[in-house]
Symmetry: C2
Subunit: 372 residues, 2 copies
């Protein structure tokens, strides 16, 4: 049984069934334009990360504004976007295992497909998969520029993998992936600047090591919504891959910004309904762990002073109501700004786009649950 959309185009906002994932289209489009304009003319390419939205219509809106393609994290995500017509996808992840690599290599018949490596054995596996499918895969070496998750250390280890890639049939060495995930949520501009300065040095050293091996390093890709201006202005990066800027979740909202840094707006909400007010000084909404991600803290209650989302269980969210606040009534609808947009979007089958009090569009979250 498919999950039915919580609204139809033309419905008033008041008719949206809850809980629902809702996008304020005006704010969303301003976010898209702000990023596109800030990268245009810089000489860098914009390749937004589609793991944040998992939505074909949003990827298309990004490409229409000049993005050269998108990033994905999973082969199954790439399959969704290529099927929808996206012609250039970078899987910003290591892909392991014969079955998955066969799918990845096959997909390269229909789009430019890139992938990361941080292991020499994986280079051989990738090459065999490309040979089997009769395609060519773009390959980038993942460099550990500070996040200490995946990636080889900067410099010589990067060059060694680059040499192996360049020598492997079916693979095309494109450059390096130098994403500093841990830097994105450092709270002050100075902390983020320092962290990215280190990433830039690591990326530059890695590029130099590849060139010293007689190879070309055309692409240096990375950056997220927290730091993209640093990478843009680094003189080393060639491509930016922010994702969350389209939505701006509560956690990114906690980053302090310098005067010259761009402000994105909250455009993504989980619309929820008050379903119980029986316990004094609290209100319970119909959105809990299955409608919102809590890894980066609870959602903010938008435009409702004195209401604090304090506790979630599977299907319930408990809000503390301050003594001075107007107590919510049964049936009241609240707009929640998710703590973390990516895993919140992945809980929903539909994104409801609203403008001026009316539902304008309902987009499938086409790559929701595309885990493999």
């Amino acid at each position: 049984m498919p999950i039915l959309p919580p609204a139809r185009a033309g419905d008033p906002v008041a008719a949206i069934d809850t809980p629902a994932l809702v996008v304020d289209l005006d704010a969303f489009e301003r976010n898209l334009d702000l990023m596109a304009n800030a990268v245009r003319g810089s000489g860098l390419a914009l390749r937004p990360h589609a793991k944040s939205h998992k939505c074909v219509e949003i990827a298309q809106a990004q490409v229409e504004r000049g993005a050269i393609g998108i990033c994905c994290q999973k082969v199954a995500e790439a399959e969704v976007f290529v099927a929808a017509g996206v012609r250039d996808v970078l899987v910003t992840n290591e892909i392991v295992g014969t079955g998955k690599l066969r799918r990845l290599a096959t997909l390269a018949h229909r789009a430019t497909l890139g992938v990361l490596v941080d292991d020499a054995g994986n280079v051989a596996e990738l090459s065999a998969a490309a040979a089997g499918a009769g395609t060519t895969l773009d390959v980038l070496v993942e460099v550990d520029v500070g996040a200490h998750r995946c990636g080889v250390p900067p410099g010589e280890p990067v060059a060694q993998l680059a040499v192996a890639i360049a020598a492997a049939p079916g693979l095309r060495l494109r450059g390096i992936h130098a994403y500093h995930g841990a830097a994105q949520h450092l709270r002050t501009p100075a902390e983020r600047r320092d962290a990215i300065a280190g990433a830039v040095r690591a990326a530059a050293a890695s590029k130099a090591a590849i060139q010293a091996a007689g190879l070309r390093c055309a692409v240096v890709t990375g950056a997220g919504t927290g730091t993209w201006q640093e990478e843009r202005d680094s003189g080393v990066y060639t491509e930016l891959q922010p994702g969350s800027y389209v939505f701006m979740d509560a956690d990114y909202g906690r980053n302090a910004l310098a005067a010259d840094q761009h402000h994105f707006e909250h455009s993504l909400f989980v619309l929820a309904t008050v379903m119980s007010v029986a316990v004094p000084a609290q209100a319970v909404v119909d959105a809990g762990l299955k409608a919102l991600a809590f890894d980066s803290g609870p959602p903010l209650v938008y435009g409702a002073a004195g209401l604090e989302f304090t506790k979630a269980s599977d299907e319930h969210g408990v809000l503390d109501v301050a003594a001075a606040a107007r107590p919510p009534r049964l049936g009241d609808r609240l707009w929640l700004v998710p703590g973390h947009c990516d895993p919140t979007v992945n809980l929903h089958d539909w994104i409801v786009g609203v403008r001026g009090g009316t539902v304008e569009c309902v987009w499938p979250v086409a790559a929701r649950g595309a885990l493999g």
Copy 2:
């Protein structure tokens, strides 16, 4: 584009694409039998909670073993199970809003449908919806027996709502809902026993108040996987609604059990693949926040001493590898016991059932994402 199953019946376990939600069918069936046998002959009814598994095949296996029906939390879940043939569903939640109530009341044409109330205004809404649909809804008063989430205080406030329900056309007063969610994960048997003793007193006082108002309180329902033996033996409860016992997640596994308490087995796993070993003393798997719930802590790495799941990002899980442990290799597959089963199941479209090294069945998680 539908999410394809990660395996097919007959595949060897080694062929399951990862990350995948996998059930060990032997352990799962022992769990089902253990609960069914422990309730049979007690005079109580077993109405397992389907919010844990969201799977029609599992609900059917429960009914085949004597369950009188199931619990759901959402109207959209109830719609899935009623469409699949389940004939008795209790929505253990307050349902608010004209649209949702219309759906709930309409569903009562095809099954016995129960719902909770903790608000007099909601009683009138429910009655209007039943009248509109031409059906009768079973209604239970939710009593706050200690969780302080939804529900009215025990005793007289319960009786007042019961009187309103009994007088409302289209509604049939069935009794009270007295679930103590906060007690389920208290770690010692004594703490859980004390908490449920309080819930039993609250339930008994509420039942007495209803009877003192000249009404019948046929059903006293509640209990979960952490405390069900207490409610079973209370002399007050008539119906038990445990859910997680079918899977036994890592968090329930942390409950200490008394000698006379039943041990359920871990039957649910997220099967993951090691995709990076580039950073020393750690391994990265392909399952993160979008494949596992972390609200009750990280997953356990099953049967792999010295590996600890320490950090998750959207699509990555980072494992610390102890100095004495055998270091995982790229492509190794690990069995992760989810911290919390309910929201983990909700992240997956398929449950892969395995026995003796072979995939025996692949069940859709039919009510995954049924939020509304």
